[in-house]
Symmetry: C2
Subunit: 401 residues, 2 copies
């Protein structure tokens, strides 16, 4: 007997037919003698519908009330899934975030899981129940409903698996695993049997949209046995493991992220402390900065260029203009017409020539590189947004993935 | 400064425009220096939509999961109303049933309120917040979400008003008060300025659909200052009070209830204990019986006839057939084609001739009476369903209401 956590995303539970399909997967696992905890997202477009309803009334609603509103989405999907499982004759109970003991920070909209009090889940498992838990949501110490931010159901599932010391955590999505590139862009993209936590982390961060990166961080920290697979096919998924088996393929995948923006602060004084001032201002506003480039300008000035998520771009520019006397009359340029294309693979650093092959692929395709950023296991370039797909294909071909 | 509880039903919050209207009423009350607790139902057809979604998956879902599902409805409406109030610049917070301390029995679908732990509501009022509470829902001692049954938001509002010792509890609906008859049927129906708890209780029980009867019972028990008024007009509503002022009008209203059924058990043995056996069987199935008529049959047998709600009728007949050896081969007739028409008014018993005037009105209209039931403040007759509206008009005219 194993304890298995299974997570199903919004498209997997979007209507009655899909819910019945998920009920089939869950009960098959239960029938084999396993204990099963299911984590669900809100149905298909529910979250978007609720956001639209809110926007009709208030374009800037408080994050607390937004959390109350959005958390109703999983409450609906989890009870419907429970009913589908009841219909098949199995014992089942659904639990909201607060009922399941998911304790979070008080940061509404982007709360972090602090602790999971597993008492209720364990009690229900002891009663031989299939336990369904609302993903994406929790409760703060002030008894307020919180949400973990978009895609947070992955994090819920992995955190619950870690807290329960589950034997396996399966993330069911609408793709059947992790690919060397987005199969919608690169026709000959290949599914990976295995990927390491670190590689997955870079892929998640870089916009592969398979797993939320916080979920991968938790999986790595608690060494959760993680698997990504499709709720619609019976195909083998991708296992996310501590260290992948030795294999000749160095590069695990190519990804693109088009929801970013480049901000340039032009002609700031070339004196110490400017970088600190800029990134301190942004940090205080909870704006994450990715690639940073500092160029020497002329006549004692320099340009600072960096990337942020597209959603944060205008807010970031405003924060800089208003936050500092040194910056307020400087030219601050925001360019949302950019994309970041990256290659990821552990051990990349010990293999020379990887970067140059990537750049060569882009050169051959006539694509101009605006910025470059590297880490131990990834190389990212910033390019024009309209060339992102071509870049992914060119790189994928060059490395023969 | 007064503490005022305001309850808004589903039609009052059905869309963005209505929510803004409600936000206006609430903030007007708050602006006058009052503390305001708002109780909301789910938006318009949300509950029906959710029931339909459930029915697609399971025609007999467990009541526990149904409560989880339906309670999402108020969570949506309360957060949207909070956002509309935020937009107008007022401090506001929404609380679910469990957050607001609404403790109920564990009887899912028809839970009763046991106690309201007002700590959280009072803390938020102390912070000068407008407090919105989800109606219709609560939490059992096992930390499960419960609902109070359809229309339960009235009960939530009155119970919260009682627990907070509120100065006033206003029930906003889509009618602007309590009328002498349904204005959709009787064109010259008149709005009452006042009605007593007992009269209101009879009206609520008899299908007037203005207030849920449990809410009136609680209001009577705790002497809650209750008012029924419209969220759409500025018209004065109807006050529900302990004892109405002396006034010459004896009869307060005429009502009809068409969602009932008549059940006849034909030719049972005329021996002691038969009535006990029948109503004990029904009581054990939680089926409420209303009017009862026992007629002497022939050759040592009798017929038992009684009314139940139409929804319970088939279930009741089945319970009788299966529940007793004495009844299983008896003819059990179910007639759903009936209506109950009633007149209500305190002091009726001390005025002779009221019943005969009612019967005269029906006789003049050529309407046949099947059964009669009386109490201190009401007289009900069972008639053919198709004649219900004509009966209400005839009686209303006869008493010149």
């Amino acid at each position: 007997m194993s304890l298995i956590v299974q997570k199903f995303g919004g498209t997997s539970v979007k209507d009655a037919e899909r819910l019945r399909n998920v009920a089939g997967i869950v009960t098959d696992t239960y029938k084999k003698g396993n204990q099963v905890v299911v984590v669900v997202s809100a149905q298909g477009d529910t979250t978007d519908d609720l956001i639209e309803k809110a926007a009709e009334l208030n374009e800037r609603p408080s994050k607390r009330e937004m959390d109350v509103l959005l958390s109703a989405g999983e409450q609906i999907s989890m009870s419907l899934l429970a009913m589908a499982i009841e219909k098949m004759g199995f014992p089942v109970i659904s639990l909201t975030g607060w009922q399941a003991g998911v304790q979070t920070t008080s940061k509404h909209g982007v709360a972090g899981i602090k602790k999971i009090d597993t008492e209720r889940i364990l009690a229900e498992l002891d009663k031989k129940q299939i336990v369904i838990v609302a993903g994406f949501q929790g409760i703060s110490k002030y008894d307020n409903i919180t949400t973990l931010g978009r895609g947070g159901s992955d994090t819920s599932a992995v955190a619950i698996a870690a807290a329960l010391k589950a034997d396996l955590c399966q993330i069911y999505t609408d793709v059947d695993g992790v690919y060397t590139a987005d199969p919608r862009i690169v026709k000959n993209a290949r599914k990976l049997d295995e990927i390491s936590f670190d590689e997955m982390l870079e892929l998640a961060t870089l916009g592969a949209q398979v797993l939320q990166n916080r979920s991968v961080e938790i999986a790595k920290k608690y060494n959760v046995n993680l698997e990504v697979l499709s709720s619609l096919t019976k195909a083998k998924g991708t296992k996310v493991v501590e260290v992948t088996k030795m294999e000749k393929m160095l590069i695990k995948g190519v990804t693109k992220d088009t929801s970013i923006a480049r901000i340039s602060v032009v002609g700031v004084a070339d004196v110490p402390g400017i970088a600190f001032r800029i990134f301190d201002l942004l940090g205080k506003k909870d704006i994450n900065v990715d690639i940073i480039l500092q160029s020497i300008g002329r006549e004692g000035t320099k340009d600072m260029t960096f990337t942020v998520s597209a959603a944060d771009a205008d807010y970031a520019a405003e924060a800089l203009r208003e936050g500092s006397e040194l910056l307020k009359d400087k030219e601050i340029l925001v360019d949302k017409n950019v994309a970041k294309v990256s290659i990821v693979g552990a051990g990349m650093e010990t293999h020379s020539g990887v970067a140059s092959r990537m750049f060569e692929a882009l050169y051959d395709a006539g694509i101009n590189i605006q910025m470059i950023s590297t880490s131990e296991i990834k190389i990212s370039v910033l390019i024009d947004k309209s060339e992102a797909d071509r870049a992914v294909i060119a790189i994928h071909d060059k490395f023969d993935l």
